[in-house]
Amino acid sequence: MKRAALLVLIGLAALPVREGLGAGKDENLATFFMGRIKYANDNGNDCSSVGEDLMKLVSQASTIRVQEERRLRLTDPQIFETPFLFMNGHDEFVFTEAELANLREYLSHGGFVFGSGCCTNPGFPKAWRREFARIFAGTQIKQIPYDHLIYRSFYKLDRVRSNNGNRNIYLEGLFYQDNLVAVMCEDGLCCAFSANNNCNMGKGVDVEDGKKLALNIAVYALTH
């Protein structure tokens, strides 16, 4: 009896989520689908609901029809069917050569990667900068200034303030043939739009700014 009640409760809880995702009857017509990637030693589960929360955000704020996230390894051929990849994490990582080769091909064919450090841990951003700079010879990760379109692709953001200290938060990105193909925010962006900054412990991006920034990144990826 308890078990049946639990199942009903789970079912009821799932309903609004699916509506929110915009899946419904048009699921097969979805235009936004996202790959949540497992990479190096990371199993792609850091702050586990963050991927779905990003999809929900995109769905609620726009007419974009979205699908559930796909869990993929970076070496998986399916990444070439998924034009938007999301990766986050807490710790240091090192890409394998196979992962680097796949990413190189993926990004040069038009794919896009959105990375976010979890809980403002410094390990992930540091590794992201180093590893993404290895993808294309002679390239470096650059700070993206506020006059870039990514800050106004959906919401207009003149600047993004940090919750602690008197400083601005900038996205950082990898450019390939003058196109921005990968972005990363080190200041716990995923925890801002997904977990109300609970784990950022007073640091990181403001929740509202975080949501706007995440949606801007998604719309930018869809239009550039």
Partner: protein, 743 residues
């Protein structure tokens, strides 16, 4: 003369003989059984055996092959002396031609004289002329082409009997191949060996060449563009600095000093320019040759024409009901094409519209254009993920007028959400090339499928995404797609470009791509959801995707705006040549109503002087080839005028006298060896000719061998004797059988 018998079909007699034997035994046994005496059986069997033996022999296709040693009919040899300009190149302080004359005087002519052979000398370059000793020495190596084939043909036809041998003193760099096959046939028929003696080094000489001047066909005023000079250095190890001058309409504009560096290479030197006003200018780049010993400057002047115009780039308006990845990937495809600009108009939420690449703050602020004036800046409109409620009937009418009156292109792209049955009967459906389906099918049940291009599409310029040999393979490599929009049929006159691989609709396989003319413009559909998968796919080359979209937008925007197209045939462009061109009337509404029209094709030189004028009757789909004579180096402009002498189309072409002789300055022994091998001759390097005796013995050996090697073939057995014997045996047998009352 020795001869032997060979069988062309030995199996004929090998099988025929046993069969004949069996038939004879059977016949003899049958005759004996009928009670015929032994001598009569022997007579009839003998007669029949002769007949059968003849037939078995003939079944083997016997041929007499004989080696004839033909006594030379004439003791003459032709000496060909190459005096083309490449023979003027100096190596070791002596020109190739001077070395050839020296070898002729000191070795070749004495050797031929010692053999008792008469020598006829022919000087050749682009043409051939007889010469005596004095003319040989006085001749200058200044011919503009090397036509070795013509010289060989002339040597063979100069007298009734072919010469014993043809000896050519040349660098082998023949650059007129058009008469080669004729010369080869003549050489083989005459059994005359070709002896080629090659002069020059195998690496060629040091050259500095201004290959061409490059510039954009059009450029806007007050915007920087480049005039590039494509330079090439060959074999020059340490080239001194030299100057390049840029002239505009004959006036010096800029100057730069070039430090070429070391080694052979090809590179472009750019002159950045900005023009203030509209107009057409001719830019000439002049190379000032450096002073360097042994360096030859092949071409020193090149020109190009640029039209300075305010004409704006091709603008594409991409309208979406919701964001799709196709927009992003098409945007990427157009990144490298400065002349195609994509403007996005996308509904991102119920109350917000995303505008990208608008020209002004107010452009498209009200959403989809509702007047023709708002639509006019665009040349192509792409629709995706829209429902009829997204476009009012008035906006659809504007779109239809944009296509039919302004000659714009309209394209609809997407899957089931785009090709929705609710579009049926709308103004938009009228202008598109397909009939929308009543049902969009069971969404989600589509199996992965391949796009199958029609043969027409594979021939169409839009679909040439790789070089000719790899184009079909490039399309075959497209990934599978997962969803598509259903349409029922193509409209009459529409051109279907692609089908679903197997899914059948009410009128055959489902159409996935099609286009049609609508008024002055073109409309097209691409009924595939997530077409971007092509670019992202691991195994695909993104450049093929990019090329397809650039070509498609150009086609949708431009084809209907030009009534007549002018194409130049693939040919060598040089002065004193006939320049072939094709003019073709393009399908367009006014051309349809007037299927045949007279047009004037006017050709002008660089000074605007009329070179040729002719009237041609043109009709759609029937290209007409014509030509004009380009007498001199110049920029020629071909103009097509209508009956009222209004300019319909024009195209310019530069004719330069490119020095073919210095295109490749290395000695070409391979070419000499080819001529020698087909004629049983010999190819020698000049430095390998050691003394008169040695040379003479080699030439004599080839001459004798060519005459020894003549084989003649005559069929054996097919003659009157064999036929008479055959008929005689049959007749005698017939008579004997009659007398002996045999059947």
């Amino acid at each position: 003369m020795t001869a032997h018998l060979v069988f062309g079909f030995p199996l004929g007699w090998q099988i025929g003989l046993p069969i004949a034997g069996a038939l004879l035994v059977t016949m003899a046994w049958s005759l004996r059984r009928d009670g015929l005496g032994w001598w009569r059986v022997a007579a009839l069997t003998g007669l029949r055996s002769v007949t059968l033996l003849i037939l078995a022999f003939l079944a083997g296709r016997p041929t007499w092959v004989s080696h004839e040693v033909e006594a030379p009919n004439k003791n003459s040899v032709v000496l060909l002396m190459d005096h083309s300009e490449s023979m003027s190149l100096e190596e070791d302080h002596q020109t190739r031609y001077a070395r050839a004359v020296k070898l002729a005087r000191e070795q070749v002519l004495p050797a031929l004289k010692a053999a008792g052979w008469q020598t006829d000398v022919l000087l050749f370059a682009e043409d051939v002329q007889a010469a005596d000793g004095a003319q040989l020495v006085a001749a200058k190596p200044d011919g503009r082409r090397t036509n070795l084939a013509r010289a060989i043909t002339r040597a063979l036809s100069a007298s009734a009997q072919p010469p014993l041998a043809i000896i050519a003193l040349t660098d082998g760099a023949a650059n007129e191949p058009s008469e080669n096959s004729r010369a080869v046939a003549a050489l083989v028929d005459a059994h005359t060996p070709f002896i080629g003696i090659g002069f020059g080094s195998d690496t060629g000489v040091q050259t500095l060449t201004l290959r061409q001047a490059e510039g954009p066909p059009t450029a806007p005023p007050r915007q920087q563009f480049n005039i590039g000079a494509r330079l090439e250095v060959v074999n020059a190890e340490d080239l001194p600095a030299f100057d390049l001058l840029l002239m505009r309409d004959g006036q010096l504009l800029k100057h730069k000093t070039i430090t070429a560096g070391k080694g052979s290479r090809s590179w472009v030197e750019n002159f950045p320019l900005t023009e203030e006003a509209e107009g057409t200018h001719q830019y000439a780049v002049q190379l000032m040759p450096p002073v360097a010993h042994g360096l030859t400057c092949v071409e020193t002047l090149a020109t190009t024409t640029v039209r300075i115009t305010n004409e704006k780039e091709l603008r594409v308006l991409y309208v979406q009901g919701a964001l799709t990845w196709d927009y992003k990937f098409i945007n990427l495809a157009l990144h490298g094409d400065p002349m195609v600009k994509l403007t996005g108009l996308i509904r991102t939420s119920a109350h917000s519209v995303f505008r990208q690449n608008v020209e002004s703050a107010g452009e498209l602020l009200g959403g989809f254009p509702s007047t023709l004036e708002e639509m006019a800046p665009f040349r192509v409109v792409v629709l995706s993920n829209l429902r009829p409620s997204d476009l009012t009937p008035a906006q659809q009418e504007v779109l239809a007028r944009f296509c039919s009156e302004l000659g714009g292109g309209v394209m609809m792209i997407g899957g089931a959400a785009t090709f929705d049955s609710s579009w049926q009967g709308t103004r938009l459906e009228q202008l598109l090339p397909v009939v929308f389906a009543s049902s969009r099918g069971v969404v989600g049940l589509d199996r992965p499928f391949h796009l199958q291009l029609t043969d027409e599409a594979l021939q169409h310029p839009v679909f040439q995404v790789a070089d000719a040999s790899g184009n079909r393979a490039a399309w075959d490599r497209l990934p599978t797609f997962t969803e598509y929009g259903r349409v029922d049929a193509a409209k009459p006159g529409a051109q279907v470009w692609a089908f679903h691989q197997d899914d059948m609709g009410p009128n055959g396989r489902r159409i996935l791509m099609a286009s049609q003319r609508y008024g002055a413009g073109l409309s097209a559909v691409l009924c595939v959801q997530n077409f971007w998968r092509w670019r992202l796919a691991k195994e695909s080359d993104p450049q093929t995707f990019d090329r397809f979209w650039r070509q498609l937008f150009r086609y949708l925007s431009e084809s209907s705006r030009q009534d007549v197209a002018i194409h130049f045939a693939d040919q060598e462009l040089r002065p004193q040549a006939d320049i072939r061109l094709v003019v073709e009337k393009q399908p367009a509404p006014k051309n349809v109503t007037e299927p045949r029209q007279n047009f004037v094709v006017l050709v002008e030189d660089g000074q605007g002087k009329k070179v040729q004028e002719q009237t041609l009757e043109l009709s759609v789909g029937r290209p007409v080839e014509t030509s004009f004579r380009a007498e001199k180096e110049d920029m020629y402009t071909v103009k097509v005028l209508d009956a009222h002498r209004v300019l319909i189309a024009s195209r310019s072409i530069q004719i330069r006298d490119v020095n073919m002789e210095f295109q490749d300055t290395a000695r070409n022994m391979e070419q000499l060896q080819q001529w020698a091998s087909i004629s049983g001759g010999l190819a020698l390097r000049a430095e390998d000719c050691h003394g008169t005796g040695d040379l003479l013995s080699q030439i004599k050996e080839r001459v004798e061998q060519s005459h020894h090697d003549r084989l003649t073939r005559k069929p054996a057995g097919v003659n009157g004797g064999a036929l008479g014997l055959l008929l005689g045996c049959l007749s005698v047998e017939y008579v004997l059988r009659k007398q002996w009352s045999l059947p």
